[in-house]
């Protein structure tokens, strides 16, 4: 990745360069060649998680006191950018490191941190977060899974779906209801070896085939009261809302990286491919489409840089994060679609990476809060 493409900006350092370089090698050399096999299997093998852990690529931002490297956000961004640019969607490192680990770091009790973070860093404890249920996704307040207090434990009953890392997970952060209303939601640290926990099918998806996505079932699953994240009831909704800003920021980072890769692949293809006696890039329509995409990418990157700066300063508000997630993922889908078109028939063949990107991109306007939810958040902020 060229410096111009890097979002590290003022946080550039030799240490980060070295880190980025080794992350790139890991994804390009140790993951990319196996993607077809992992896609076939519907999951990345546990060894690759252990390998990522061994190399120090999991949860690098966890503070040193909790066993992590304690490095800056720039390291997470670099990891995600390199993963996207290598065309690798599994293992879902970013979900593990940037979505799940921060729950423990920000809200966990010292015991909870001590119990799970070292394993998450090593790759021996793979994380998942379970919010969505069959009856509702983005509408969190409507969730039905219950956690009934019983002496010094909770008894959990319910069902979750579309859970990334759901098949591989050792630890699930589970959103469940301890009481009615938004204040009745708690997050529970559920170990998947627990009795009463059952995984459903590894769901068949349109794209991101190597990333396991599962239904999860909880039948009279008993956890000790100390499994409640942070140890206090009723904070789950606020914790989820609070973490979504960062999740949406990372969705923007991923989208910008995918757009860059789509453009690189397509520019290379149209320079080489001939039609009607000239190169495809020699047609004005091709140049205009790609020029428009390049301009979109440049503007997105400027906005993303600003969002990252605001996030560091603690001022990235939910509406702006929603703008980023909505805009970036929508641009991603439309640009990747244009790129498929410029590839012609080859763009429809899965042996061409652009075809895979097209499939893998489709979920982005839905996950992390559907883009309609993003517009709702932005729209409400205007009044």
């Amino acid at each position: 990745m060229t410096a111009q493409h890097s979002l590290s900006g003022p946080y550039q350092s030799e240490e980060l360069d070295i880190f980025r370089h080794s992350v790139r090698r890991f994804f390009q050399e140790e993951c990319a060649p196996h993607q077809p096999a992992w896609e076939e299997a519907g999951i990345a093998p546990r060894q690759i998680w252990l390998r990522a852990g061994e190399l120090g690529f999991l949860c690098p931002r966890v503070p040193a006191a909790d066993g992590g490297l304690g490095v800056d956000l720039a390291f997470s961004i670099a990891t995600l950018e390199e993963q996207m640019r290598a065309g690798v969607f599994a293992p879902s490192v970013s979900v593990h490191s940037d979505v799940i680990a921060p729950y423990l770091v920000h809200y966990g009790t010292p015991e909870q941190k001590k119990r799970y973070l070292p394993g998450m860093i090593a790759g021996t404890c793979i994380g998942a977060i379970a919010m969505t249920e069959p009856s509702g996704g983005s509408d969190l307040k409507a969730l039905r899974t219950t956690a009934r207090r019983d002496g010094d434990s909770y008894v959990i009953n319910g069902q979750k779906t579309f859970i990334t890392n759901g098949i591989a997970a050792d630890l699930v952060i589970l959103a469940a209801r301890t009481d009615a209303g938004a204040r009745g939601i708690g997050l529970f640290l559920v170990e998947t070896k627990s009795e009463g926990f059952r995984r459903g099918r590894n769901l068949q998806k349109l794209g991101q085939h190597a990333s396991d996505t599962a239904e999860l079932f909880f039948d009279d699953l008993r956890v000790h009261a100390s499994a409640l994240l942070g140890g206090i009831e009723g904070r789950g909704f606020a914790q989820l809302m609070d973490r979504l800003v960062e999740e949406r920021l990372m969705a923007g980072v991923a989208a910008a990286a995918v757009i860059d890769r789509a453009l690189e692949l397509t520019v290379a293809y149209v320079k080489e491919r001939k039609a009607f006696g000239k190169r495809v890039i020699d047609f004005q329509n091709t140049r205009f489409k790609l020029a428009a995409a390049k301009a979109e990418a440049a503007v997105l990157r400027a906005f993303l840089s600003r969002c990252i700066a605001d996030f560091r300063a603690g001022t990235l508000d939910p509406a702006t994060a929603a703008m980023l997630k909505y805009w970036a993922t929508e641009r991603q889908c439309s640009i990747v679609d244009d790129c498929v078109q410029l590839h012609g028939g080859y763009g429809y063949m899965l042996e061409y990476p652009i075809a895979r990107m097209w499939l893998d991109s489709r979920i982005t306007t839905i996950y992390g809060g559907a883009n309609e939810v993003m517009k709702d958040i932005i729209g409400r902020s205007l009044r």
Partner: protein, 380 residues
């Protein structure tokens, strides 16, 4: 609030001056000027007195010694009062710099103070009936002669053409040399024999600003009015100025989008339909969310571009990217905002209707969107 480490409290003081000027001098007269189709010389002198002209020109030539943020502030404040078509920016930040950057010392001293005071209003004449963005193909000629040059030809769509006292004219001094045969001349219109202004052209929007045809029939230009004193530099001079011109057009687009979103949020919050304010409808909120997102991204890219401009790194590609993006999104945003105004959005007494018509030019002037894509496409 503008986010840039180049933006200072002094800029905010300037904004106060500009806002007062716009409210006192422009807002009450806007409609009258839109009726006659141009702004009177008196306005320009008042603007000069208030320090609103040539803000970026060095103070030794009568200018304000400021930077590009002064231009942005003027554009934002004129947009606020619904007078986006006011051409101070054209005079001060697009045309005067030709003289400041390429003029001889004598030319700078003769003209810049008069442009800064508003005694003279200027225009630039590039486009001809036979071609716009394709500059190398211009047909107006400047034939050398014992006492300078003789200008023949015709120009069209010239902003400020009707009111200009000084016109920078692009003409061929060597018709066989393509771009290298183009030179720029400083034509004083007062008493210029053979110079005639055609009609004030009827336009879709920008009603308070004149755009004219200009005719040159054996117009004499003294040798000391060849810009920079050397022939054949016109094409390069024009090309060098284009990125900044496009940045300025984009500044106006960003200001307009933001204002349109504010206006439309206010309108839909107050307007009732089916027993509730329009903004209570999901579609209204979604459309406004889309518009707000576009305006926010445009602002983020603009601020990055302005910083890079001040630091001397703003290039042709960035100029093309921002102009294409900001003006295309402006068009989408204004159309969506007009739609949310319903029938009132079609009435020109509503600012949104005028803004919608005014902004249509931005995708054409200063190089069309298609030229922008062509420029970006060449870098692939």
């Amino acid at each position: 609030m503008i986010r840039s480490h180049h933006y200072t409290p002094a800029h905010e003081d300037f904004r106060t001056t500009v806002r007062r000027f716009m409210e006192r001098e422009c807002a009450p007269n806007r409609e009258a000027w839109q009726k006659i189709g141009f702004t009177p010389p008196d306005l320009w002198r008042k603007a000069g007195d208030a320090g609103l002209l040539c803000t970026k020109i060095a103070s030794e030539y009568g200018g304000g010694g400021g930077d590009i943020f002064h231009c942005l502030i003027i554009l934002e404040e004129q947009t606020r009062i619904g007078f986006g078509e006011l051409t101070f920016y054209l005079h001060s930040d697009i045309i005067a710099p030709y003289i400041a950057l390429y003029g001889t010392e004598d030319q700078k001293q003769r003209y810049l103070p008069r442009l800064a005071s508003g005694e003279m209003v200027c225009a630039i004449a590039m486009t001809e009936p036979s071609g716009g963005s394709d500059l190398q193909a211009i047909r107006t000629t400047a034939r050398p002669d014992r006492n300078g040059y003789v200008l023949n030809g015709q120009k069209v769509f010239i902003s400020n053409g009707h009111i200009a006292d000084l016109i920078v004219v692009a003409a061929k001094t060597d018709s066989g040399a393509g771009g290298k045969g183009i030179s720029l001349f400083l034509l004083e219109t007062k008493g210029a024999e053979g110079f005639t202004r055609g009609r004030c052209l009827k336009k879709v929007g920008n009603k308070g600003q004149d755009a004219s045809e200009l005719f040159f029939d054996d117009v004499r230009i003294p040798p000391e009015n060849l810009l920079g004193g050397a022939e054949g530099r016109g094409f390069v001079q024009l090309m060098q100025r284009l990125p900044e011109e496009r940045l300025i057009v984009s500044m106006a687009a960003v200001a307009t989008m933001e204002e349109a979103v504010r206006e439309t949020v206010a309108y839909t919050s107050q307007r009732q339909a089916f027993g509730a304010p329009l903004i209570a409808m999901q579609n209204t909120r979604f459309k406004l969310a889309e518009c707000k997102t576009k305006a926010t991204l445009a602002r983020a890219y603009l601020e990055q571009a302005m910083d890079s401009f001040i630091e001397g790194n703003f290039d042709t590609t960035q100029g093309a990217i921002i102009k294409w993006w900001a003006t295309e999104k402006q068009h989408e945003v204004l159309d969506a905002c007009l739609q949310l105004h319903g029938g009132y959005g079609y009435m020109t007494e509503y600012a949104i209707a005028r803004r919608y018509a005014d902004q249509r030019l931005a995708r054409i002037a200063g190089g069309t969107s298609e030229i922008m894509l062509d420029l970006i496409g060449r870098t692939l």
